[in-house]
């Protein structure tokens, strides 16, 4: 078969989820390069969209890749740079954040951001019996964050007795989540559920609640399925944390593996592969537990 | 007072073939002479003769390049001023060395703080600072920030700082350049007292009358060399001046021309007030006229003109060449004033007069850049202007491509003067124009002012040197405590008269 020179372009490990992405990408490189003699994988991590565009350019013109797996920093901003890589003849698999112009990609592998917002909402509605006060934390202002929030809101619309008291940005950051939660607790005397929207932020939320010694909060729902959170669910350690929604960074591993193996055989991938986000509960938690991953 | 001091036994100094070079430029060429303890020496020389440099070597601020410096017979290699101070050698700098954000007391004790255990003893320092200030006759709260002081006050703080160090050899580099006779007199008393205590004093000044009055012996340097020494009582001022410049000096002041009395004033100022500093000043200056401004330190002369230039809030009426200045408050900014033909030379050379980190060329042309931008700056034209100014104003410099900071004090002053005359103003205000300038150059500057006046420039000279005002000006206005108390014509100009008005002891109807 032909040699495959695969480039992987992902965001830098600026928070735990991206740490997981980095881990799984490197894991894929290790496993796959050992397995296939004709495969070379080059991983690049970018701190922002322009840098990622630069790296795509470098991968294409200098490293001369013929296949690319890209986790775009931002959908819109990277559409053109990715299209250019494709124009130079590389096979392009886009992961997680779809491009605004789908003709710039050959395949799309993604988690399900709508489910990421919908599942916690449904869970909270069900657990609270359709009535209660909810606060939410948001990530960083991005399209992705909007999709999740919209899906969350859409579910709550169906339950008029569930009140979303406020939703503020905590930047997918533990410290900011801690502060925002502290202030929520000062402000709202009665909160039934907190949608932390990310397992990293959930850490800050938990600490703030612990400090305020509040016991009115019945549900804390994170997101993405970090190993610590999954372990808590598995062990049933915390009543408030009964479930999580999966959005594993491992999909980058799958995407790289699928792309590399398909290209080695000269095959194509299906245009779209959605890796479903599912509710993690005590029952299925161990399927999502990867103790070696940083996430 | 604090200087009573452990001045037991003073310091004997011997320079033996001292050589100093800044890079390729040699400024001291083997200077040899000695200073016996307990005397007051006057160190004379033209601007750039190397006086300050030699004294910086003596006090540990500059290393010497060659030769030997012996203190009490021991060869010394000072690595810092701290070493020299350990031997009781203290220098009062020609240029101020004060941290503007610190208070007077903090500056006086900088590097020599008094402590109570770990902590500073501010009370004691303020007390001692107050005593040192009293000794030099400066009445400010020691807690005042130096930034708030006027130039003369800063000079006195510099002196107080040295006094508080309890020197056994005290070097004063132009201590009176910005002082008026009152402060100067007080300083002389202090010198006498220190001398009585056995302190050796080196006194550098271009004011030969002071040198004559206060020193026991004069030492003259020229072009980085020792030239002559003599007991002060055996040389006349005239001889001193000739020794300095190495040629016969003619009259210091140019003959006075008469201005055409009928000429319309170039600038007319009416009821001009700078709140807190000057009230209701009214005066005219005509083209070709040299108008002096006399007054004690703190009389408000500097502030009056700063108000006129829009640097301080002010009110009053100003007319320039017959046209009123629109907003009736003087100009909005020095830029505005310059556009209408008024420029100002500040008395604070380092803080307001020159960019010491800039080259000579950039300094010289800064106020007249329009002339050199056509539309791009013409460095060659600028360089030409610099060469011309160096000649006209007698600026002594090794190369034209050095920074202003490497000029000697007096030469910096000449550069600053050349700078404010570059835009070819109609009226120029010169605040202490000959501060730190040697006698030969002073003469050149007087003749230059005279020539410019003859060409139609109206010149206002603010000066604390009464003789300068008397020798140069057509009329002299006297200010006291913010008020213009008198304007004296040339034929009424005597020192007694000026002092009487400045101190308020004159018959108030003395002159028009």
């Amino acid at each position: 078969a032909e040699k495959v020179n695969l480039g992987v372009s992902i965001p830098a490990a600026t928070h735990s989820f991206m740490g997981g992405i980095n881990y799984w990408a490197n894991q894929a490189k290790k496993d796959l390069e050992k397995e296939h003699k004709d495969l070379k994988i080059t991983i690049k991590t970018a701190a922002n969209a322009p840098e990622q565009a630069n790296q795509l350019q470098d991968l294409s013109t200098v490293t001369k890749i013929n296949a690319l797996v890209v986790f775009p920093f931002e959908s819109a901003a990277l559409t053109k740079p990715v299209a250019q890589v494709k124009a130079k003849g590389a096979y392009v698999t886009v992961v997680d954040r779809g491009l605004t112009d789908t003709s710039a990609q050959d395949a799309y592998v993604a988690g399900d951001n709508t489910a990421f917002g919908r599942i916690p909402a449904e869970y909270i509605v069900k657990q609270l019996g359709g009535k209660g006060n909810v606060v939410a934390l948001r990530g960083i202002a991005t399209t992705l964050d909007n999709e999740r929030m919209d899906a969350f809101n859409a579910v709550l619309k169906g339950s008029p007795d569930i009140k979303l008291l406020d939703a503020k940005y905590a930047n997918w950051n533990r410290d900011d989540a801690f502060k925002v939660t502290q202030d929520y607790l000062t402000r709202f005397k009665n909160i039934d559920a907190i949608w932390a929207a990310d397992d990293d932020m959930a850490v800050g939320v938990l600490k703030a609640i612990e400090q305020a010694k509040r016991d009115d909060i019945k549900i804390i729902f994170g997101g993405a399925g970090a190993k610590g959170m999954v372990k808590t669910i598995m062990d049933g350690k915390d009543k408030r944390i009964g479930a999580d929604v999966s959005y594993s960074p491992k999909f980058i591993y799958d995407a790289i593996k699928l792309t590399a193996e398909a290209r080695l055989k000269g095959e194509k991938l299906p245009a779209t592969t959605i890796i479903p986000s599912v509710l993690i509960t005590k029952e299925n938690a161990k399927d999502f537990y990867h103790p070696n991953s940083p996430f | 007072m604090t200087a009573e001091a452990q001045t037991k036994g003073s310091v004997a100094v011997e320079f033996d073939g001292v050589v100093k070079a800044f890079g390729p430029v040699q400024v001291l060429h083997g200077v040899s002479f000695s200073l016996a303890p307990g005397h007051v020496y006057g160190l004379l020389g033209e601007n750039g003769a190397g006086k300050s440099t030699l004294m910086k070597i003596l006090s540990g601020y500059e290393p010497l390049t060659g030769g030997t410096l012996r203190i009490n017979g021991q060869p010394q290699q000072f690595t810092s001023s701290r070493d020299a101070e350990a031997l009781g050698i203290v220098l009062i700098h020609q240029e101020f060395n004060l941290a503007e954000d610190l208070s007077v007391a903090q500056n006086i004790f900088l590097g020599h703080e008094k402590k109570k255990g770990w902590l500073l003893d501010d009370a004691a320092m303020e007390r001692d600072a107050a005593a040192a200030l009293a000794a030099v006759g400066l009445q400010v709260d020691p807690r005042t920030k130096v930034r708030r002081l006027i130039v003369a006050e800063k000079q006195l703080v510099e002196i107080a700082k040295a006094i508080a160090r309890r020197a056994r050899l005290l070097i004063m580099d132009e201590p009176t350049a910005t002082l008026t006779p009152g402060e100067t007199e007080r300083l002389f008393k202090l010198i006498a007292q220190l001398r009585a205590d056995g302190v050796t004093i080196v006194y550098i000044s271009h004011k030969l009358d002071e040198v004559e009055q206060v020193t026991d012996e004069v030492i003259v340097m020229r072009d980085g060399r020792f030239v002559a020494r003599a007991p002060t009582s055996e040389v006349t001022r005239h001889q001193m001046a000739n020794l300095m410049v190495g040629r016969e000096l003619a009259d210091l002041y140019p003959p006075r021309d008469l201005v055409v009395a009928a000429d319309a004033p170039a600038m007319r100022v009416r009821n001009f007030s700078v709140p807190g500093w000057a009230q209701d000043a009214s005066f005219d200056v005509r083209p070709g006229e040299i108008l002096g401004f006399a007054g004690l330190v703190g009389a408000g002369r500097t502030e009056l003109f700063e108000g006129l230039l829009g640097l301080r809030p002010a009110s009053g009426e100003v007319e320039m060449l017959g046209k009123p200045v629109p907003n009736h408050k003087g100009w909005r900014s020095p830029r505005d004033a310059a556009k209408h033909g008024l420029t100002y030379l500040s008395e604070d050379r380092k803080g307001k007069g020159l960019h010491v980190n800039f080259g000579l060329r950039q300094n010289l042309t800064l106020m007249a850049l329009e002339r050199f931008a056509k539309p791009w700056l013409q460095p060659d034209a600028e360089r030409g202007a610099l060469a011309e100014a160096v000649k006209d104003y007698g600026i002594r410099t090794g190369s034209l491509d050095v920074r202003a900071s490497s000029l000697s004090g007096g030469n910096q002053q000449k550069l600053a003067l050349a700078k404010v005359l570059q835009p070819k103003p109609k009226v120029v205000v010169l605040d202490e124009p000959t501060r730190g300038v040697d006698i030969g150059a002073k003469r050149d500057i007087y003749f230059l002012i005279q020539r410019l006046a003859r060409e139609g420039l109206a010149v206002i000279v603010v000066s604390s040197e009464l003789m300068e005002l008397i020798g140069l000006c057509h009329r002299v206005a006297v200010m006291r405590a913010g008020r213009l108390v008198a304007t004296l014509d040339a034929d009424h100009l005597t020192e007694e008269e000026l002092i009487a008005h400045a101190t308020g002891t004159a018959d108030t109807h003395a002159a028009a």
Binding site: A13, T14, H15, S16, M18, G19, G20, N22, Y23, A167, K168, R174, F178, K179, V180, Q182, T186, R187, V203, K207, P294 | Y61, S81, E85, H93, N97, A99, E100, D101, Q106, L110, G111, L119, L120, D122, G137, Q139, V140, R143, T144, E153, T180, P181, G182, T184, E185, F188, L208, D209, H238, L252, V297, G298, M467, R480, A481, E495, E496, I499, T503
Partner: protein, 341 residues
């Protein structure tokens, strides 16, 4: 040349007034700039949400101010001396990470968890001092602009943390974490420990700055380095020490930070440098150095956290615009205390 006669003259009476009285008043008034800003903000906060003016909320705000506040005290020295340090956030993150790794290792290894935690705390301070020393040496002996040095180490520190954490988070083991937690969560006489530490650091900082020769030298160097050199101040040593001091402050802040979340990740301490510098400048210290005050810095730090606290307690404007409100308030507060120049 006629002899000039020297007549002794009296000092003009007027000259005395100016230097006293008014300027001192005016200076004190200036110092009040941030205080006025803070008071106005608090009034506003109370009007917007009555929960704002509760003791609990005040303690929350003060506690979370503690980190930045402590760092800002150190930063105040660096800025007054004419320097800058952009790396404090990354430095805090790396120290936090190192301390966590150390405690996780030493806890089981030494057999005494308490000992491990104590030694971890010491390590935090020592590391801070060492990093500060490195900065100081590069800046003074290496003669590199502080901006460049600390921009460089900003990247270096964070990169190493990310490397150690493998891109994820370093987390304190649970039982050790419980042992360490009181350092952040406990109170003494009703006031949380971090607030106490903050107050103590601020007082010590104030004493060093205003009451010791060292503090005086810091101000002298910032005001005019040449003058300080001429006054035989050991400029390099004083400058190096400002960075060491700041490093120690970062170490102390980290030591309080670790028990809060028990973890360090690549986002830990992000943009703390901007917050710390802002606290110092909002507090009335000029970025060019020379003069500044610890009290101002403390108030500046509190002011900045009060702004975001109030924004969290209200939802009158779009969340998107929170940062804009913050920006406007900072500018307005600075405007209130302007006119120094």
């Amino acid at each position: 040349m006629p002899p000039e006669q020297q007549t002794p003259m009296p000092q003009p009476e007027a000259a005395q007034h100016r230097s006293q009285g008014k300027p001192r008043w005016a200076e004190h008034l200036h110092g009040l700039g941030p205080v006025i800003g803070l008071v106005l903000l608090c009034i506003g906060g109370t009007l917007l949400n009555s929960d704002f003016a509760t003791v609990d909320n005040a303690m929350n705000v003060l506690t979370r101010t503690a980190f930045i506040g402590i760092i800002a005290v150190g930063m105040c020295f660096v800025i007054i001396s004419g320097g800058i340090d952009l790396s404090v956030g990354s430095m805090a993150a790396l120290i936090a990470g190192s301390v966590i790794m150390f405690i996780n290792w030493a806890g089981p290894a030494s057999g005494s968890p308490l000992m491990a935690v104590v030694m971890g705390a010491v390590l935090a301070v020592v590391l801070g001092a060492l990093f500060g020393l490195a900065h100081g040496l590069l800046i003074t002996k290496g003669r590199i602009e502080p901006f460049i040095v600390t921009l460089g180490t900003l990247g270096i520190f964070r990169a190493y943390l990310t490397y150690f954490a493998d891109g994820g988070a370093l987390t304190l083991d649970n039982d050790l974490s419980d042992l360490y937690a009181p350092v952040y969560y406990a109170s003494l006489a009703g006031i949380p420990v971090p607030v106490w530490v903050f107050v103590i650091v601020a007082i010590i900082g104030g004493v060093i700055l205003n009451r010791t020769a060292y503090g005086r030298y810091v101000q002298a160097i910032g005001s005019n380095e040449q003058v300080a050199r001429y006054a035989a101040v050991d400029v390099d040593r004083v400058k190096i020490l400002t960075y060491v001091l700041l490093g120690v402050c970062v170490g102390i802040a980290t030591l309080l930070y670790v028990p809060r979340l028990g973890s360090a990740s690549p986002t830990t301490g992000l943009l703390w440098e901007l917050e710390a510098i802002a606290a110092v400048i909002v507090g009335g210290t000029a970025l060019k150095g020379g003069a500044g005050s610890i009290t101002g810095t403390v108030i500046g730090a509190i002011l900045l956290s009060v702004i975001s606290n109030i924004l969290n307690l209200t939802s009158i404007i779009s969340v998107y615009l929170n940062a804009a409100v913050q920006g406007f308030v900072i500018i307005i507060v600075a405007f209130l205390q302007r006119g120094r120049r």
